[in-house]
Structure formats: C-alpha cells, structure tokens
C-alpha cells in the first residue's frame, strides 16, 4: 500500500518546548501561513490533543474554551480563526496531495478543524511523521 518499510521500535514522546517546536514545524511544513492567529491556535490545539487524546471529543467546551482563556478572547473567535487557517491552507496548496493526506475528496471543502487537529495529533503521537526531512506529503509539495 504505502511505501513505508520502517516501523519505529520506540515512541519519541515530546513534551513542553520540544512539542511546541515540532508541532509548529509540522503545521508550517504543511503550508499554513505563519502570520495568522489561527496558526498559533491550531498549534496549541494539537498540543492539547497530543497530551490528552480524549480532548477531541469536546471541541468547543474543552479545547476552544481553554485556548480562549489563555489568549483572552472568545470561543467563536478561536473557532473562526482556526477555520480561516485551514481554509487558506486548502486554497494555497496542492489539493490532490492534501486530500489524500486528510482523507477528503479533492473537490470537496477543507477538512473540519476537529479532523485536522485529530489527524495531526494522532500521527505525531505515533511518530508517523518525520518533520525534519520534509517527507510529510511524500515529496515536493509545490
């Protein structure tokens, strides 16, 4: 099926600063523009879901509320910014490869925030992503 032949024999558990760095590298490699507020909100959301995988079930009450309290804004503001960030990612990049990555149709809309965050947190948790060698989408993503 896929070209992966290497299974990591141990997990690399990230925490704290290292986790933030890895997540920021991951999202920017995918192509989310760094200048957006949604970039940092998505980064924080992925960190939270990485550390506590059941947090993805309560998105508005749990995740957004916590990020809103940390950033001194409202829940709807966080939600709108995250949605804008993903929409811009979808517009900028090669939708064919991204759709295969996110299990969407390439002609449909962008994945929802919940699916985006859950997928990246899960992949990061199980070390299926190698952010340093730019092999996320399996090649160049221009």
């Amino acid at each position: 099926m896929s070209a992966y032949n290497d299974i990591p024999t141990e997990f690399t558990e990230y925490s704290g600063e290292e986790l933030t760095r890895q997540v920021k590298l991951l999202i920017s490699e995918l192509g989310v523009p760094r200048r957006l507020k949604g970039f940092s909100y998505l980064c924080r959301a992925i960190e939270l879901v990485y550390m506590e995988p059941s947090a993805i079930q309560n998105v508005i009450v749990g995740l957004y509320r916590q990020i809103a309290v940390e950033n001194n804004t409202t829940v709807s503001c966080i939600e709108r910014n995250c949605r804008t960030a993903i929409k811009l990612l979808w517009q900028r990049c090669d939708t064919l490869k991204l759709a295969a990555y996110f299990s969407c149709n390439e002609h449909s809309n962008a994945p929802s925030v919940r699916e985006f965050v859950a997928l990246l947190a899960d992949k990061l948790r199980r070390n299926l992503i190698n952010v340093s060698t730019n092999s996320i989408l399996g090649g160049d993503k221009t």
Binding site: S2, I7, L119, D122, L128
Partner: protein, 128 residues
Amino acid sequence: MNDSSKEIVTYDDINDIALDIRTTRILIGLGVPTSCKGYEYIRRSIILTYHTPEITCYITKTLYPQVARVCRASNAANVERNCRHAIESACRSSHTAELREYFGYDVTVHRPTCAQFISTIAKHLHET
C-alpha cells in the same frame, strides 16, 4: 474463549507498538476520519482480533464489551454504532482504490459490515 470476556489486554511488548503503528497507517490510508470515536474503537478491535482471530465469531458478546471497557465507552451498542459510522465515512471518502484493494469489491455499492471490516484488516496484518 472461556473467560475472555473478563480479560483486559495490556500493551507491554515492543511488538504491540509496531502493530499499533501498522494499524494506524492502514486505517488512515483507508480514509477513516480520525475524529470519529469509531476510529479508536476499530483500531482497538483490530488489535484484539489480531491476537485472537476467532473473537469475531463472538463479536457482540465479547469483542464490543471489551472494547467498550478499554476505550471507556458507554456500552456495546454504542461501540457498534460508532464503528458503523466510521466505516460509512471511510467508504464515502475518496480512497476507493485502497478499499478495493483490501476488500476486492466496490465498497460504495455494498458496504462491508463491521465484522468483515475488522477481520479483513486483521487478516491482512497477519499476512504482511
């Protein structure tokens, strides 16, 4: 299978980490949305079926309650409903080529049942 409804499988081996990662790769490649609860239940069911392949014969009596206990779900019916929803979303996604390669037929016409889905992937994990 005498007392298997009371067992809880724990993951201590190095082999189980590799199995976990292989299952995750397959499930994401098939297009199961990660945000579904059924994703987590299916992954746990596949790992349990890998270790005891005949558990799919006692799926409602043994497999679903065990998954519900491990994954902290409400009851077996919830597990089954969420698994069914996850499989439905996977069959609706654009990964029809991979699905066809696993199941051998067009999944949009005839959707596989939960037991078929789980046992097919567990068997594929055995063979590769």
